[in-house]
C-alpha cells in the first residue's frame, strides 16, 4: 500500500532468546532510523482554535 520496505518487521523471538531479541531491536531501529520519520499513513490532527 505504499509503506516503505524496511519500516515494518516481523520476527519470532522466544523468551529464552535474549540475544536474538537484542539483535532484532538493533536491526529494526537502525533500519527505521535510516528511513527517517514516517510521513505516510499519518493522520493530521484537527486544528483547534
Amino acid at each position: 500500500m505504499g509503506i516503505e520496505p524496511g519500516r515494518i518487521h516481523f520476527s519470532w523471538v522466544s523468551s529464552a532468546e535474549s540475544t536474538k531479541f537484542v539483535d532484532v531491536v538493533k536491526k529494526v531501529t537502525s533500519e527505521v532510523k535510516a528511513l527517517g520519520p514516517n510521513k505516510r499513513f499519518v493522520k493530521k490532527k484537527a486544528k483547534v482554535a
Binding site: 505504499g2 509503506i3 499513513f41
Partner: protein
C-alpha cells in the same frame, strides 16, 4: 443468456408449488437500466416478475445470511461460490437451500456502456449477444461481450460450483486469461508509486459503504467502522480514515473473496475497490493454492495451520 428466464420461472414455480421452499431469491427489473434488483418470490405469481439478463450482477448470496426459512436461490458461478462460503461459515445450512444454478457469460459494466454514449441512457434492451441502448436522441447497438465487467472477463468459474438444478447447459470455462494482470502492475511499483496510486484511487471515496453493503462477506452484526467503543477508525473524510476502512475491509475478505465484483458495481464513484481484494486472492492462490468457495468440504487457509505454511516474512 436471456433465454434462461423461462427455465428459471418453470423451476421456481415448481419449487414453490410443491412447497419445497418458502421463498425464492431472484431478480426483477430494476428502476434504472442495467441494474436489476433482488426480489423475493413467495408465490408463483411473484415469480412472473423474475428477469434474467446481463444486468443481474448483484450477488444474491448476500441475502442468505442467518435466514431460517427453506430458500430457493438463483446462483451464477460467483453467487454459488459465495453460497459455499456462507455454508462453511455457518451462515446458512446446505439443507435449507435449493440452488438454481445459472451458467454465466459475464455481467455488464454500466460504466463501460455509459462511456459509449454522451447523454443519459433511458432504456437497454438485451438480445442474444447484443444490447440496444437508447436515450432521448440516440439508439446504439453494442456487443454484450464488449461491455462486461473486468472481473467477469477474467472469471475462471462461470458455472455454478454447487447446485440442485441447472437452467441450461454449462458454458465453456475461460482458459489462458491472465487473472492478475492489474495486480502485477501494482506490485511492480516502488513504495512511492504505490502510495500515489492509492492516494489517487481513493480520493473520490465518499464513504457511503455501498461496497461493504453489497458484499456477501460483510455480514458482521456491527462492522468495525460502525463501532464506537472502541472506535477503530475515524469517521471523517480524512484520507487516512478512508484508507483504513478500505484496507481493513479487504483484509477481512482474505481467503474468502470470490472476486464477484459486487463492491465495484455498487460503488457510485467508480472506484475499483476490487484491486485490494484481488491482491489478497492472488496471495491466497499463490501461497496456499486456495480459491475461495469451491468446496464445502475444505476449510479456508486462514482457518487451518500447516507446518509448511509460508513464513518467509518472519525474520
Amino acid at each position: 443468456m436471456i433465454g434462461y428466464i423461462d427455465k428459471i420461472k418453470e423451476i421456481s414455480k415448481g419449487l414453490l408449488e410443491e412447497k419445497k421452499v418458502d421463498m425464492i431469491i431472484g431478480f426483477r427489473k430494476g428502476t434504472v437500466p442495467m441494474i436489476n434488483e433482488p426480489c423475493v418470490a413467495k408465490t408463483s405469481a411473484d415469480v412472473d416478475n423474475f428477469v434474467w439478463d446481463s444486468s443481474c450482477g448483484i450477488n444474491l448470496a448476500n441475502y442468505l445470511t442467518g435466514r431460517k426459512e427453506k430458500i430457493g436461490i438463483i446462483a451464477k458461478g460467483c453467487d454459488s461460490r459465495n453460497i459455499v462460503n456462507h455454508i462453511i461459515e455457518n451462515k446458512i445450512n446446505r439443507e435449507q437451500l435449493t440452488i438454481i444454478g445459472v451458467p454465466c457469460k459475464g455481467m455488464v459494466d454500466r460504466s463501460k456502456v455509459k462511456a459509449l454514449v454522451s447523454s443519459d441512457i433511458e432504456e437497454v434492451i438485451e438480445k442474444e449477444d447484443t444490447m440496444v441502448i437508447s436515450g432521448a436522441d440516440f439508439e446504439k447497438t453494442v456487443k454484450t461481450s464488449d461491455v462486461i465487467s473486468k472481473n467477469c472477463t477474467i472469471c475462471m468459474h462461470r458455472n455454478p460450483v454447487i447446485f440442485d438444478e441447472l437452467v441450461a447447459e454449462e458454458v465453456d470455462e475461460q482458459k489462458d486469461v491472465n487473472r492478475y494482470e492489474d495486480i502485477d502492475k501494482i506490485e511492480a511499483m516502488d513504495s512511492g508509486e504505490k502510495w500515489n496510486y492509492f492516494e489517487d484511487m481513493f480520493k473520490s471515496c465518499i464513504r457511503c459503504y455501498a461496497c461493504r453493503n453489497a458484499c456477501p462477506l460483510c455480514y458482521c452484526p456491527t462492522c468495525f467502522v460502525d463501532e464506537s467503543k472502541p472506535q477503530w477508525v475515524g469517521k471523517s473524510q480524512d484520507p487516512i480514515d478512508i484508507w483504513t476502512f478500505h484496507f481493513l475491509r479487504a483484509y477481512h475478505c482474505a481467503g474468502r473473496c470470490t472476486d464477484c465484483g459486487a463492491c465495484v458495481r455498487a460503488c457510485p464513484m467508480d472506484i475499483d475497490v476490487r484491486l485490494l481484494t484481488k491482491k489478497l486472492e492472488k496471495d491466497c492462490f499463490e501461497m496456499f493454492n486456495w480459491e475461495a468457495g469451491l468446496s464445502i468440504d475444505k476449510r479456508p487457509p486462514l482457518d487451518v495451520f500447516n507446518a509448511d505454511d509460508p513464513d518467509g516474512f518472519i525474520k
